[in-house]
């Protein structure tokens, strides 16, 4: 079965995003830890990616005709696993193995472990450059797939990101879409304080990209941005800077002191899932 650029309505995408958040919390609960703050924040982006934008076959993750989706930020693996479970690429039962010995779902994303994981991200600043090479390769083959690359605002500190940004524009890679998760958190504090990048969208635009800045937790805005990025008749690579809120959907985690790695106590996992469920129920009532 091929999933292809559906016109899935916003309400259905929101349900998918809710499911992705729930899968991520369940995985976090297995290990008592994980980058759930990021997963909750980026769930809407992943829902639009996997249920609106990408063409792929859930049962055949290496199908040549697929759009490529690179997770440059290896530590967001818990978020991508949740999306891949929701997309039917990874069976739901495997959720219980998250981070365990011999699991296909290690805590950092690795291509050789997990179906649907295109690259081993994690050494930050590599995904965009790999996407450039894949974009060039797809153009050589003359096929029309897109390469999506999900990266973080922290990765903008890596010089290699800007080598890749310049190159993508130089080669007119209109088949490359990168999403910057602008949650303004990295290991040592807010990204804007660790190494301020100023106006991220303007920086990419100055490098020759088509740049959009959107609220990354606003489903309608995301749909519009992804649709535009795909349908644009313009020889520029595309960037969507998605302003997201860590912990989104679980108010007590949204409010928790913001750190790169949000602490969740043992007795809080069930509560987090209950709160998420209640929030979704209220929003859809």
């Amino acid at each position: 079965m091929t999933v292809s650029a559906t016109n899935m309505p916003v309400e259905e995408l929101s349900r998918r995003a809710y499911n992705i958040r729930r899968h991520a919390l369940k995985m976090g609960q297995v290990q008592g830890q994980g980058y759930v703050g990021q997963a909750l924040g980026v769930a809407d982006v992943l829902a639009v990616s996997y249920f609106r934008a990408l063409t792929y076959r859930p049962g055949e993750p290496e199908w040549e005709g697929r759009d490529r989706f690179l997770l440059s930020i290896g530590h967001y693996a818990i978020a991508l696993y949740a999306a891949l479970i929701e997309a039917g690429v990874i069976p739901l039962e495997e959720l219980e193995t998250y981070g365990s010995d011999d699991s296909r779902l290690p805590m950092s994303g690795m291509a050789s472990y997990t179906p649907g994981m295109e690259i081993s991200g994690g050494s930050l600043g590599q995904g965009l450059g790999i996407a450039v090479g894949m974009g060039l390769g797809l153009k050589r083959k003359g096929t029309g797939q897109f390469v999506y690359n999900l990266m973080s605002d922290g990765e903008l500190g890596e010089g290699s990101t800007w080598e890749a940004a310049a190159s993508a524009a130089h080669w007119k890679l209109d088949n490359l879409i990168t999403i910057v998760d602008f949650n303004n958190q990295q290991a040592d504090g807010p990204s804007t304080q660790v190494l301020g990048m100023g106006d991220i969208a303007a920086k990419f635009a100055a490098f020759g990209w088509h740049a959009q800045f959107v609220n990354g937790n606003d489903m309608e805005a995301l749909v519009e941005a992804f649709d535009k990025a795909r349908e644009l008749d313009d020889p520029r690579p595309r960037v969507i800077v998605a302003d997201t809120l860590m912990g989104r959907g679980v108010p007590f985690l949204e409010a928790r002191e913001k750190t790169h790695f949000i602490r969740v106590d043992e007795d809080e996992w069930d509560k987090a899932i209950d709160v998420l469920d209640a929030g979704y129920a209220a929003a859809t009532a």
Binding site: Q126, V132, G133, G135, G137, E163, S167
Partner: protein, 335 residues
């Protein structure tokens, strides 16, 4: 009346690009560029990519013959590795070129994680390995083997001459996986066709036998070892030369057998690389680990220091890797 300064002898060049060929030596022009170009005629998935050094890594030959398959990636070595990884993911076989210093020192993480860890079929061919430029430490990759030997799933090749390179290119292409080749560029000496020799990836080859000394060498030092072996005959010293163009995986079996066959020979490992972390230490570990102890063991390699700028013949002499030095040092060790 004008006063003329006393005439100074003209300084020899410390230019970046200098041939390692001795005066009058038989050479082949750009063997890598021609070999890859020829191979690409039959292998349609080969692409060439360079970080603004195609001209100085002989990849311009490939670019001229296959312009639509050449990618100029700009002076961005990290990007070179990343984009090569992406190309390989899409089914192409990228051949990436830059200088050895930049691949090893600057782009290590990108070759390591985007390429080697992923088992991707990418070939990284780098000019100016070891001491092959008089340009000083910024361009002298005296420790590239030490850096790269620690990388899992990376095959490392250090060819001796144009013959080695011509034969290595198709075999490196047939080997699926990441390969680092130390590239001799420009006018490259041709030496090995005088011996009954064929390059075989992963194999060390005995080029000549001798009872007193066993040179185990790679890269251009095999050429020097062969020259030294000829000259040592005048001192009634018979030297064998075992050429080890594949540094990793090391052909331990052949090395151990060669040493065990005549344990009375002095073993001299000669390499165009720091004495730290290269072929010398690899051979020492292999011999000690297998309990194969020769009567003596010495290393000819570059000292553990940042080297001078200057003309290559001067520097090779200064740091003990010229043929004169190989002969003199070997004789001194033999007593």
């Amino acid at each position: 009346m004008s006063v003329e300064a006393p005439a100074k002898p003209r300084l020899k060049t410390s230019a970046m690009i200098a041939s390692i060929a001795a005066e009058g030596q038989r050479t082949v022009s750009a063997p890598f560029g021609h070999a890859l170009s020829k191979l690409a005629e039959t292998k349609q998935n080969i692409v060439g990519m360079s970080a603004d050094l195609a001209k100085y890594t002989d990849l311009h030959i490939f670019a001229a013959n296959h312009p639509d398959r050449f990618y100029q990636m700009g002076m961005a070595e990290q990007l070179l590795m990343m984009s090569g990884a992406g190309m390989a993911r899409e089914g192409f076989q990228p051949w990436l070129t830059t200088y050895a210093v930049f691949a090893a020192r600057r782009a290590y993480d990108f070759l390591c994680l985007a390429i080697a860890e992923e088992g991707l079929d990418v070939k990284v061919c780098c000019a100016l390995p070891g001491l092959t430029t008089g340009y000083g430490p910024s361009h002298q990759a005296t420790e590239d083997l030490a850096i790269f030997r620690g990388m899992p799933d990376l095959t490392i090749v250090d060819p001796c001459d144009a013959i080695d390179i011509e034969q290595a290119v198709p075999q490196i292409s047939d080997h699926k996986g990441a390969v680092y080749m130390r590239l001799l560029r420009g006018k490259v000496p041709a030496v090995l066709d005088e011996y009954d020799y064929k390059f075989e990836l992963g194999k060390a080859k005995m080029l000549r036998d001798g009872a007193d000394v066993l040179f185990i060498s790679s890269g251009l030092m095999t050429m020097r070892a062969l020259e030294a072996a000829d000259r040592l005959r005048a001192d009634k010293v018979e030297a064998a030369v075992l050429h080890c163009p594949t540094i990793k995986p090391l052909d331990e079996k052949t090395i151990i057998e060669a040493v065990a066959a005549k344990p009375g020979r002095l073993v001299v490992v000669a390499e165009n690389h720091s004495v730290i972390g290269g072929l010398g230490e690899a051979v020492a570990a292999c011999l000690l680990g297998s309990g194969t102890v020769p009567s003596g063991f010495r290393q000819i390699g570059l000292p553990d220091k940042f080297l001078d700028a200057g003309a290559l013949p001067t520097l090779h002499d200064r740091y003990g890797i010229s043929t004169d030095q190989v002969v003199a040092r070997t004789l001194s060790w033999l007593g």
